[in-house]
């Protein structure tokens, strides 16, 4: 099914352990994966299954205990700060909790200006920078004139998360790791955020990787779904394969946990 597509991010035996001896916890247990360019990927699992740890390893924020991560076919090398910076030009993230994602001492302008600088636009004239920021904000339905000189905590959760997408719009990475991008936001804003993300994907041609506990969301957005249980991928395939014909009881349980609006809940199984 993936013939002719290039893997942009692959892993072989990626493992992360925390602690020593009796306190040792294996958060990610030797996973193999190939994420192909242009696909929308979801990693689904319950809390504590190692999704976020895997995401941090993919981002290069923490090092894997064992195993290799390949970026665009080559073994990833992010030893020095310069190489890391180069790597982060092609892979970016949206975090789960917008309220703790921003430095409360920095204004919104500086969040966006950092992105322009990252793309090498640090020496652009001020008008050009404002133009870029305005464009990014209007893409996510925010008004830059209203945001300038404000602090991120003065915005609502949905607005903060949209600002995060505006960041991505400015950075134009090849891969976007979205770690539960909608779990801290009210249900109404959820679809808006997801739609904006999809629109952004079409615009700049990136590969989004969703990390979520919500299998409904995974089915709604993704092409390929990976199911993660206790640090391992237990099932993977296209969204239709995995969700319509789950092979593992774990997957079935995840599917059953999604509340359905039109059906009556069977409280006896809860």
């Amino acid at each position: 099914m993936n013939a002719g597509k290039k893997p942009c991010l692959s892993g072989r035996g990626v493992t992360k352990e925390f602690g020593f001896g009796r306190n040792k916890t294996v958060a990610v247990d030797g996973v193999d994966f190939d994420f192909y360019e242009g696909e929308i990927i979801s990693i689904v699992g319950e809390s504590g299954s190692g999704k976020t740890t895997l995401a941090k390893m993919l981002l290069g924020l923490i090092n894997a205990t064992e195993g290799d991560i390949f970026f665009q076919g080559k073994k990833r090398n992010i030893g020095s700060h310069r190489k890391k910076k180069e790597y982060w030009k092609s892979i970016q993230a949206i975090f789960q909790d917008p309220f703790s994602s921003y430095n409360t001492f920095n204004k919104i302008d500086s969040v966006l200006l950092d992105c322009i600088r990252m793309r090498g636009g640090g020496r652009l004239p001020r008008e050009k920078k404002i133009e870029l920021m305005t464009e990014a904000c209007s893409f996510v339905n925010l008004k830059f004139e209203e945001l300038t000189n404000k602090y991120p905590f003065e915005l609502s959760g949905g607005q903060q998360q949209r600002l995060m997408i505006a960041r991505i719009f400015l950075l134009k990475p090849q891969i976007l790791l979205a770690d539960e991008p909608t779990s801290m936001i009210d249900a109404c804003s959820r679809t808006t955020i997801l739609d904006t993300l999809m629109q952004l994907r079409d615009e700049i041609g990136m590969t989004p990787i969703f990390i979520t506990h919500d299998i409904g969301l995974a089915y709604y957005v993704s092409d390929t779904v990976y199911i993660m249980e206790r640090g391992k991928f237990v099932e993977s395939g296209t969204a239709d394969q995995v969700i319509l014909n789950p092979k593992k009881p774990y997957t079935q349980r995840l599917i059953n946990d999604v509340p359905k609006i039109y059906e009556e809940w069977d409280l006896s199984t809860v």
Binding site: H81, W88, F95, S101, Y102, N106, V111, M118
Partner: protein
């Protein structure tokens, strides 16, 4: 920022502590502008003059004299001269002479003297009384007679040519001078110390020097602790291990012992106030380093730090802008505590005789040291050490109050 400052000043504890501290600072700043004496100038010949107003006797003879008639003046004069032992002796004589014990009021000077003047007769033989005792009573009677006289005293000076005494004037017992008209009056609110120096002037200067020592020591300790804590907490790994090893070494060796050893090895002559401050600073950074490290470790995995990394910022930038502002309030509180403990450490060192050398400036610890060496506490000369203790206590108290107030503002869980 503005909001935080307003909140800080709404905290009662902080305001009280801040006012006390500011009061001390104001006194320390403005007192030397008003009283321009050198703090270590020896003005009194003798040790431990009691607090009070000192009027020049020579000048008071030349000042205009006013006659004021007061009924109890004589009684007061005698009461001042009669000490408790004399009163007891008078009572014993009167009882032996056959006066009923109930009629004698030892505290009532007037009635006691009346009884004495009416009944005393040097020729009366009291059984069992030695000659020495009899002579004592005769001397006492003469002294009281002199006090009771209304003659006044003649002031005379020596004529340089003839060598004869010439009368300059008579000072009567009803003569008064107005203190404001005497040219030389010195108020010593806290008396003088063992060297005859004005304690208040010395104390103000000592407070200023001690505060300076505390601030320098606190700044050095906080700076070292902050830098080591930030580096070891954020970078982690081997760097963390090495720094924590050094820190733990410093914790195991009590810093005061270290302070004593360093201070001793520097030698008396090299120990200026600034040197002592630096030594205190270099031995007391340990707890700040540990506390900052643990705060940084909890901060370094927060999402905003990750976002800053993803925005391509360097480690220095992240530490300075994404970690430091979050622990700034904590560092300010640590600084306040370090200043107050620096002042206490200086006092402790000086009491042991390992403080700054004694020739340039007084410090609170040195004043305690002097008072102790010259046994002010045994002699009951409270003014030599008690004000110093009060000042040390006030400084520590105000700083701890400020610290608690800040803590309550920055840590809402502690608000009452």
């Amino acid at each position: 920022m503005k909001h935080t400052i307003r909140q800080v000043f709404r905290s009662g504890k902080f305001v009280v502590g801040f006012s006390i501290f500011m009061g001390i600072l104001l006194i320390v700043t403005f007192y030397p502008l008003i009283i321009r004496d050198a703090p270590l100038k020896i003005i009194g010949q003798g040790t431990f003059f009691a607090p009070g107003i000192y009027v020049n006797v020579y000048d008071s003879m030349g000042s205009p004299h006013y006659t004021i008639l007061l009924d109890d003046a004589a009684a007061k004069r005698i009461a001042d001269k009669l000490d408790d032992d004399d009163r007891q002796a008078i009572k014993e004589w009167l009882v032996a002479a056959g006066i009923s014990e109930d009629a004698i009021e030892i505290e009532n000077t007037e009635s006691l003297l009346d009884l004495w003047v009416n009944n005393f007769d040097p020729t009366t033989r009291i059984p069992g009384m030695t000659n020495a005792d009899r002579n004592y009573y005769i001397r006492l009677n003469t002294a009281l007679d002199g006090l009771l006289s209304t003659e006044g005293a003649i002031v005379a000076s020596v004529n340089p040519e003839t060598g004869a005494l010439e009368e300059k004037g008579v000072i009567r017992q009803t003569d008064y001078v107005n203190v404001n008209q005497v040219p030389n009056v010195r108020v010593l609110p806290l008396g003088t110390d063992n060297f005859g120096r004005d304690v208040l002037t010395e104390l103000v200067q000592a407070t200023a020097v001690s505060l300076r020592i505390g601030i320098v020591a606190g700044l050095i300790a906080t700076f070292i602790g902050l830098v080591l804590g930030l580096v070891s907490g954020y970078i982690g790994g081997l760097v963390d291990d090495v720094i924590m090893f050094i820190t733990n070494l410093f914790i195991v060796i009590p810093s005061f012992v270290l302070l004593i050893l360093i201070s001793f090895s520097i030698g008396q002559e090299q120990r200026g106030a600034f040197t002592i401050a630096v030594v205190i600073g270099f031995t007391s950074w340990v707890w700040t380093a540990r506390a900052v490290r643990s705060q940084v470790i909890s901060l370094r995995n927060r999402d905003h730090v990750n976002l800053s990394k993803l925005s391509g910022h360097s480690i220095a930038h992240i530490i300075a802008f994404d970690i430091l502002p979050y622990i700034a309030s904590y560092v300010v509180m640590a600084l306040i505590l370090q200043i107050s403990s620096g002042i206490l450490a200086e006092a402790g060192l000086s009491i042991l005789g390992l403080g700054p050398r004694t020739t340039d400036v007084p410090t609170l610890g040195l004043m305690m040291n002097w008072a102790m060496i010259y046994q002010a506490h045994i002699l009951g000369k409270w003014w030599a050490y008690f004000p110093v203790i009060i000042v040390i206590a006030l400084i520590a108290f105000s700083m701890n109050l400020m610290n608690t107030g800040l803590d309550q503002v920055f840590n809402p869980a502690l608000r009452d």
